[in-house]
């Protein structure tokens, strides 16, 4: 059962199907072959994910899917986590699809996987800050100028949801990646996913291509969904990391005895087990909180959970690498990739420090 959540029959089946997909299709060597190719094949599993109906699970019936609830998001993230996918399923469908739907746009092509979106929003440490990138009105168009740094999946995306600071506050745009004046500089993320810097120099967008919605609320909702998604992922990954590590400690022998016999290592393993339970409990809390109406309390609960999941997940990842010894830092060992995925999560949807600062603000711990 995913995070002890009350799941429907469909959700349970989805979980089983995706877990099977991960064990059959996401082995570490095939992944390496795809990602070490030149250029890397970062969409290798995309079609299969779409055929399995993952996009539909992430979209509400109104948007043409059959899910879209926090539990659906949790099931998808939890089941897929050990597969270490670099495909943009969460961002393109789970976040951008959701935003398009909120603005009354058709999500059909996104749901079918025919069009892939990236979310070009964060500029500094904290994506909950309003964007500074300029959107100046000029007759029937907005003119965009500025930089969106290291936008995850922007290398493989066809289209972008871009946030900017317009004449009346934050605006969201739906934009083709090949728009004139937009320069895409690809980069890579620590978990091998792709990204790109997006330089906007006088990019002209028709006014009709802005998303007709309460942009600030839609962005916040997307970010919260993102944080909950990686909390669920962290819980699953911590579990997978512990499973691999504890199994290894029971197999590997040094000094004529199994590593699992060393008490120092037993205590490290115990801390990992504790951390994994904490991460699971907080991921559960976050999923439940996401189902509530927007409120400061909902934000607080999700921020707390995301900080706890980062701390616990990262501790588990570091300890696993250490307990595997040299094998832990080998590219051929899955835990070395789990640790890198934890490092990536720590910086997704803002850095951990930025989340901590925001929590301090909500709690009134500081002077602001």
């Amino acid at each position: 059962m995913t995070l002890q959540l009350p799941l429907s029959e469909e959700q349970t089946m989805l979980h089983e199907m995706l877990s099977r997909f991960v064990s059959e299709r996401c082995d570490i060597e095939a992944r390496a072959a795809n990602l070490h190719a030149n250029p890397p094949r970062r969409m290798a599993l995309w079609e299969e994910l779409c055929e399995l109906g993952v996009p539909s699970a992430l979209l509400s019936p109104e948007a043409g899917g059959f899910g879209g609830a926090p539990e659906d998001l949790a099931v998808v993230q939890y089941a897929l986590a050990p597969g270490l996918l670099v495909e943009p399923i969460l961002v393109s469908v789970g976040l951008c699809g959701r935003m398009l739907d909120a603005a009354g746009r058709s999500v059909e092509a996104v749901a079918a996987g025919e069009v892939v979106y990236a979310f070009a929003h964060q500029e500094g440490f904290d994506p909950f800050n309003a964007p500074q990138m300029k959107a100046d009105a000029d007759g029937d168009v907005f003119v965009l100028n500025g930089l969106k740094p290291a936008v995850r999946h922007a290398d493989v995306a066809d289209r972008l949801i871009v946030s900017a600071n317009g004449p009346d506050g934050t605006i969201l745009f739906d934009l083709a990646k090949d728009a004139a004046g937009l320069t895409v500089t690809p980069s890579r993320q620590i978990d091998a996913a792709g990204s790109a810097d997006l330089h906007f120099e006088g990019v002209r967008v028709a006014k009709k291509d802005h998303l007709d919605c309460d942009a600030e609320a839609v962005i916040e909702d997307a970010l919260l969904h993102g944080l909950v998604a990686i909390a669920a992922e962290a819980a699953s990954l911590a579990r997978a990391t512990n499973r691999d590590t504890f199994e290894y400690l029971g197999l590997r022998e040094q000094f004529g005895t199994k590593l699992a016999q060393f008490q120092a290592l037993q205590h490290m393993a115990a801390d990992m087990a504790i951390a994994a339970e904490e991460v699971a409990a907080q991921a559960h809390t976050a999923v439940v909180a996401l189902g509530r109406k927007a409120s400061a309390e909902r934000n607080r609960a999700i921020l707390v959970a995301s900080l706890a999941c980062d701390a616990g997940g990262r501790a588990v990842g570091h300890a696993a690498v250490q307990l595997f010894g040299g094998m832990g830092v080998s590219d051929e060992t899955p835990v070395s990739h789990y640790a890198r995925r934890f490092a990536a999560m720590r910086a997704q949807f803002g850095t951990t420090d930025a989340r901590a600062a925001r929590l301090a603000q909500i709690e009134g711990f500081g002077h602001e």
């Binding site: 964060q122 500029e123 500094g124 440490f125 904290d126 800050n129 500074q132 740094p149 290291a150 995850r152 500089t185 980069s187 890579r188 993320q189 620590i190 978990d191 990204s195 810097d197 022998e253 040094q254 000094f255 004529g256 060393f262 120092a264 290592l265 570091h318 690498v321 250490q322 010894g325 040299g326 832990g328 830092v329 080998s330 590219d331 051929e332 070395s336 640790a339 890198r340 490092a343 990536a344 720590r346 910086a347 997704q348 850095t351 951990t352 420090d353 930025a354 901590a356 600062a357 925001r358 301090a360 603000q361 500081g366 002077h367 602001e368």
Partner: protein, 400 residues
């Protein structure tokens, strides 16, 4: 050496590096690139010309006979000023071993290449089944006439792909105590039967390897010391490494980088006061840790000069040095803000000779590399768990 003359020596090292470190290497180090073998060779030759490459070798061996205080001064200043590290496998490991245990013929044959850095060495100790428990190593060397026939495999052999020679621990006897059946062999990497399999590590780079021996015939004259003396020779060699372990120089340099990065964030009007306060607190923690490491290192070194027993000092430096490096590198990554998850291993090899500074993504890759490779430090050179076993043992012994 007096405090004054040490201060003078430190200034001399700094000046020398300012004047003699080739610009391209300086630039690579400053920008946290991965260095090529040729970069290390070039720098080591420059040090040798200056008379500092053999600083820690005794005068009998043709060295400078630096005491630990002076060795530390050199290491710290070089590291902080951005000079490449001296690769230890030759000059710091096999060189002292040959000086102490080698035959005249072995010295004659091997020392000149080590001293000139023209012959490159690697260290073949660990095996797939023998890491922390090194004494259980299984690579067999069977005497056949005037050769040893070597079969087995070495694991994690760093820079084996650069090496001309390996100093290798092999098993020549399986009958008695495990340690007593280990011998110390010098193996020419060109010998037929040797294959090298690259191992890519968590940082996405190829530094280390697995080396296979398939009926490799090694002349018996390449045995160092007696058969069965390998274990005690290896222990001698590792005790020689005491000082380079905490390696504060590069950490001080990384701290300098953190200061610069943090200063930039603190000036950024788009960053909230709350976030600035959190980062400032983390900078304070980092600063206290690195200064404590530096103090500890000085304290130990001065203590040794005054007859302080080495005890578990080297283990303490290893644990703290590596864990502090990890803490600094984690902060270095977090300070990248929107680039905090950016890491492309290819960036570590990007050209530095042209105009212009690194992009934000390239800088982030360099810091992510520090973070990822930083995970290796608590594993190699005796894992931190093994070091803690030693520290506890010494601490309990001195209490009882």
């Amino acid at each position: 050496m007096s405090d004054d003359s040490i201060a003078e020596f430190r200034a001399e090292v700094r000046n020398f590096i300012a004047q003699s470190l080739p610009d391209d290497i300086r630039e690579k180090v400053r920008r946290y690139r991965d260095l090529e073998k040729s970069d290390y060779v070039r720098w080591q030759k420059i040090l040798q010309d200056r008379g500092w490459f053999l600083g820690s070798w005794s005068k009998d061996w043709g060295g400078e006979g630096w005491d630990p205080v002076q060795q530390l001064a050199f290491l710290q200043e070089s590291g902080e000023a951005g000079a490449p590290m001296v690769i230890p496998y030759g000059v710091s490991m096999i060189g002292p071993v040959l000086n102490k245990f080698g035959t005249d013929a072995q010295k004659e044959r091997h020392l000149p290449g080590i001293i000139s850095s023209d012959v490159w060495w690697c260290q073949g100790y660990s095996e797939p089944g023998a890491g922390s428990d090194l004494a259980s190593l299984k690579t067999m060397a069977v005497r056949e006439g005037d050769h040893y026939r070597v079969n087995g495999s070495k694991m994690w052999t760093t820079e084996a792909h650069w090496a001309d020679w390996m100093h290798c621990l092999v098993r020549t006897d399986s009958s008695g105590r495990k340690q007593d059946g280990i011998s110390f062999l010098l193996i020419d990497m060109e010998t037929p039967g040797i294959t090298i399999r690259p191992i890519v590590t968590i940082d996405g780079q190829h530094h280390t390897n697995q080396v296979f021996f398939d009926d490799v015939m090694v002349p018996a004259e390449n045995l160092v010391g007696e058969e069965g003396a390998g274990w005690s020779i290896a222990k001698f060699l590792l005790s020689h490494e005491r000082l380079s372990i905490s390696d504060t120089g590069p950490k001080l340099r990384l701290m300098g980088r953190l200061r610069a990065m943090n200063a930039k964030v603190q000036k950024d009007p788009s960053v909230s006061a709350g976030l600035k306060a959190i980062l400032a607190q983390r900078m304070v923690d980092a600063s206290v840790q690195i200064e404590t490491l530096r103090a500890l290192e000085h304290y130990f070194v001065e203590g040794w000069a005054k007859g302080r027993p080495a005890g578990a000092d080297a283990s303490i430096l290893k644990v703290r040095g590596t864990e502090i490096l990890q803490a600094l590198s984690e902060l270095a990554v977090d300070l990248q803000g929107p680039y905090a998850a950016t890491h492309d291993p290819v960036d570590l090899h990007a050209d530095v000779t042209g105009e212009g500074e690194d992009s934000a993504a390239e800088m982030a890759s360099a810091m992510a590399h520090q973070y990822l490779y930083g995970r290796c430090w608590t594993i190699f050179g005796g894992t931190n768990e093994i070091q803690r076993n030693i520290i506890a043992k010494v601490a309990f012994a001195s209490a009882g």
